[in-house]
């Protein structure tokens, strides 16, 4: 596979932005997996993270803020041959698109979701996101954030996600491994990727994360739901990274009467005779 297959274009991110590491890891993962660019679909909402598809040579659907998941899962429903990867931010997926986050975990369509989580709004210049810590002072939270931070991993586990992981842009080797496993996982896979926002988050800096992140012990059994729930609740002086939970469950296509034969929907046809009979049923009474 040609190194330039997933060519990178000029970006609009701030120098030092965590998104660069994510982009690099993503590109390396796609290359490592030898995926064909025209069979990869990258879907994004709006935000700094959501610019990712713009900088990679794959198919891209850059839709609306908060609305990356619905078109992504529907594209997979329409054409199972596509490898569908979603790149969104913490505001995009957990705030504006919170409802889709919950219900697409329930659907369990075979898509991969990378959330670039910098605990702040970057594109709109520094307001609190759902994952911003308590007391964090911003332009909009002038007296400090008073809302309890959202715990995406706990939420995902509670909703029944089969693959739940946390990565960190400071550990690219681990992130590439996680990305590959998430893409290969059959079903909805979430990686919450901690990344510094160099311009608008002066609290959760690269150094702040670096001090705290700690790969999950090899002794952890990723099929142990209770252990995963316990790990998901640790976020503070120590932040565990790696796979919290990985258990394959029936995916949407396997359960769907039209899709379970795994022939892509776009190649299926309407049987004229059957349709004529249905029309005829309105005549017979």
């Amino acid at each position: 596979m040609n190194q330039n297959e997933f060519c990178t274009r000029e970006t609009a991110w701030c120098p030092g932005c965590g998104n660069f590491s994510i982009l690099t890891c993503l590109k390396k993962t796609l290359e490592k997996m030898e995926l064909e660019p025209h069979k990869v679909l990258m879907v994004a909402g709006i935000g700094q993270a959501a610019k990712t598809p713009q900088y990679l040579c794959v198919n891209a659907f850059c839709g609306l803020h908060g609305r990356a998941l619905p078109p992504a899962v529907a594209a997979k429903m329409a054409n199972e041959e596509l490898t569908v990867i979603i790149n969104t931010g913490d505001g995009d997926s957990y705030g504006e698109g919170g409802n889709h986050f919950i219900h697409n975990i329930r659907r369990n369509v075979d898509v991969t979701h990378f959330v670039h989580d910098n605990q702040i709004y970057g594109l709109t210049k520094g307001q609190a996101s759902p994952t911003t810590s308590l007391g964090h002072v911003t332009g909009a939270q002038a007296d400090g954030n008073i809302n309890t931070p959202f715990n995406p991993l706990l939420m995902a586990l509670a909703a029944g996600a089969g693959f739940v992981a946390r990565g960190f842009t400071g550990d690219q080797e681990q992130l590439i491994t996680l990305m590959e496993k998430a893409i290969r996982f059959k079903g909805y896979a979430l990686i919450d990727i901690l990344q510094p926002c160099v311009s608008f988050n002066k609290i959760n800096t690269f150094a702040w994360y670096k001090e705290r992140v700690k790969p999950i012990s090899e002794a952890h059994d990723p099929t142990d739901f209770a252990a995963a729930i316990a790990l998901a609740q640790i976020f503070g002086d120590e932040i565990p990274t790696g796979i919290l939970y990985q258990v394959e469950k029936p995916v949407y296509h396997d359960r769907h009467p039209v899709l379970k034969d795994h022939k892509p929907l776009i190649y299926k046809e309407t049987d004229r005779k059957t349709l004529e009979e249905i029309i005829g049923s309105f005549i017979e009474g």
């Binding site: 069979k39 198919n59 659907f61 529907a74 329409a78 054409n79 776009i266 309407t270 005549i283």
Partner: protein, 554 residues
């Protein structure tokens, strides 16, 4: 000639099933049938009624000049007795209190109890009706099989026969030729149109009065290879449909005004992303929750302007069941050809009203166009004169397909270039020229010589058609009408032509502000001289339009 029946009772008394079975039996005997429902927004109790109009010629409007009042509860008699013709009848249970000499009291509740299920009293009543109108019970069994659960067949059949034996025929049997027609309502006609157009993906959130489209499609999903997904909200519904459409599956969503409100941002995504999309808005009175189960035409101005920014769209008002089928097919073709959103405006009246219509025929199969120059460079937003950039799906060729809600270049990548912005806006807007050429002029009804021109749109087509026929009997040749189907962009040719000859122009709309009249004035300068507006949530009938025209033209 037509007969008009009203079946009234509480929610949960099985009025719908009675009406469906009666409609089918009437059609089997050759009658043209029109069945209109008036529901309250509740599951039990309240007052619901269904109007059944039937005769030897097509009925286009419901009528409140009742030949028969079938009262399943006391309330129905009190509420509707004033609408009963002097020679009409009331069919009711022996226990219902009325001194009216027109009442045919049958001990239906007792008979039903004796049969073993109090709920079959409706079937006894329908048996009575069949006899009164001189119909036979032939074919009843087959129709019951379609409408009822197996365990209820025998008891209901007995109930029909018992009811049938209670009375003697009273009405002359009319000879219609409609047994080979379909009976279908607007919602199902839209669903069939979508299926005929090759629908592969439908996502929606349940909302009255549009839900039946989703439920009907879901019932055919397996047989016809259609994914029908109930979304978590209307925002997801349209965004899912857009994702499926982008990936190459003909897709559609449906809702009512409230759901459409939530879809608005994604409507713009369809516009700038140039992703084909068909959206059905089955209107109900708004704003906010409004009247959930009733009818109105108050979303016209909303859907033609919905979304920030400017982009081409087409809006089609559905006039009747045949139109609903035909125009839904056309909506898919237009959406696909121009890569735009096409909005179908239906309403509760059309959606829930069943009529006998000529059997729908399937359109010629349109083969998926092979991508031009498949090995060559592909630009999803190639600048072209007519604004149409060739369509390709991700994975269809090795070339990449990008869609972007940001302003973008031909490749689909974000741009801030002023020059490119102008080119892209122009490219998108240029599609309107092609869309305008293909517009259907409004349907003209009535007299070419008339000097009074009625103007309407969508589901009032039937009542207006009947009004014009009726008024032209009173003052021959005076009335004509234009009823818009394609409504945005507004087709102006026939309107200009007819307006020139008209002394009076009267717009008839089911809204409070005369939305079409406003649009016509904005686009053409033509002013409607009088306005007949109705916004009580109930459908306007031909009788009502005629009487209000007599008032305004005095």
């Amino acid at each position: 000639m037509h007969y008009n029946l009203l079946i009234g009772g509480a929610a949960g008394q099985g009025i719908d099933t009675m009406a469906a079975i009666l409609g089918k039996l009437l059609k089997k005997e050759g009658y043209a049938v029109l069945t209109t429902h008036d529901f309250m927004s509740r599951i039990r109790g309240g007052h619901n009624f269904t109007l059944i109009r039937f005769g030897d010629s097509p009925a286009y409007s419901h009528s409140m000049a009742l030949d028969g009042l079938i009262a399943l509860d006391d309330e129905t008699v009190g509420l509707h007795i004033g609408e009963l013709k002097p020679e009409g009848f009331i069919l009711c249970d022996g226990k219902i209190i009325t001194e009216d000499g027109r009442a045919i009291k049958i001990p239906m509740t007792e008979m039903a109890k004796e049969l073993g299920n109090p709920r079959v009293s409706g079937s006894i009543a329908t048996g009575v009706l069949l006899k009164l109108f001189g119909l036979s019970l032939d074919g009843l069994e087959k129709i019951l099989e379609q409408e009822l659960k197996e365990e209820l067949l025998e008891i209901n059949q007995k109930a029909y026969v018992q009811g049938y034996d209670q009375v003697e025929p009273r009405y002359e049997k009319l000879n219609g030729d409609f047994s080979g027609h379909m009976i279908i309502n607007g919602n199902r006609a839209v669903a069939l149109g979508a299926l005929a157009a090759g629908l592969r993906f439908y996502s929606a959130y349940p909302m009255s009065p549009s839900t039946e489209i989703m439920e009907f499609l879901a019932s055919k999903s397996k047989e016809l290879n259609v994914v029908v997904e109930q979304a978590e909200d209307e925002i997801a519904a349209i965004n899912m449909a857009l994702g499926a459409s982008f990936a190459g599956a003909p897709a559609m969503t449906g809702t009512s005004g409230g759901g459409f409100s939530l879809m608005v941002e994604a409507l713009g995504l369809s516009g700038i992303g140039e992703i084909p999309m068909v959206i059905a808005n089955v209107q109900r009175p708004g704003p906010a929750t409004g009247f959930p189960t009733r009818t109105e035409q108050s979303d016209l101005r909303f859907v033609i302007h919905a979304s920030q920014g400017e982009f081409p769209r087409k809006v089609i008002a559905l006039r009747n069941q045949e139109d609903a089928y035909r125009q839904t097919i056309k909506a898919f073709r237009t959406a696909e050809k121009y890569r735009i959103p096409v909005i179908l405006l239906s309403d509760q009246y059309l959606g829930d009203t069943s009529a006998t219509v000529k059997p729908f025929s399937l359109p010629e199969k349109v083969a998926d166009p092979e991508p031009e120059n498949p090995k060559g460079e592909y630009k999803p937003y190639l600048l072209t004169e007519n604004g149409i950039s060739p369509r390709r799906y991700p994975g269809q060729t090795e070339e990449l397909v990008n869609v972007d809600s940001d302003e973008h270049d031909e490749q689909g990548l974000i741009t801030e270039s002023a020059e490119m912005r102008i080119k892209m806006v122009d490219k998108r807007m240029n599609k309107l020229q092609g869309i305008m050429v293909e517009l259907e002029e409004p349907e003209f009804l009535g007299s070419e010589e008339g000097d009074i021109l009625l103007i309407g749109w969508g589901s009032t087509w039937g009542p207006i058609k009947e009004t014009v026929e009726q008024l032209n009997l009173e003052t021959p040749g005076q009335y004509g009408a234009l009823v818009f189907g394609d409504i945005y962009p507004l087709p102006e040719k026939l309107l200009q032509e007819k307006a020139k000859k008209a002394r009076r122009i009267i717009n008839i709309e089911q809204n409070a502000t005369g939305q079409l009249a406003g649009l016509i004035r904005e686009k053409t300068g033509i002013v409607c001289t009088q306005s007949i507006l109705k916004y009580d949530g109930r459908p306007i009938s031909a009788e009502e339009i005629a009487s209000r025209i007599r008032e305004v033209t005095v």
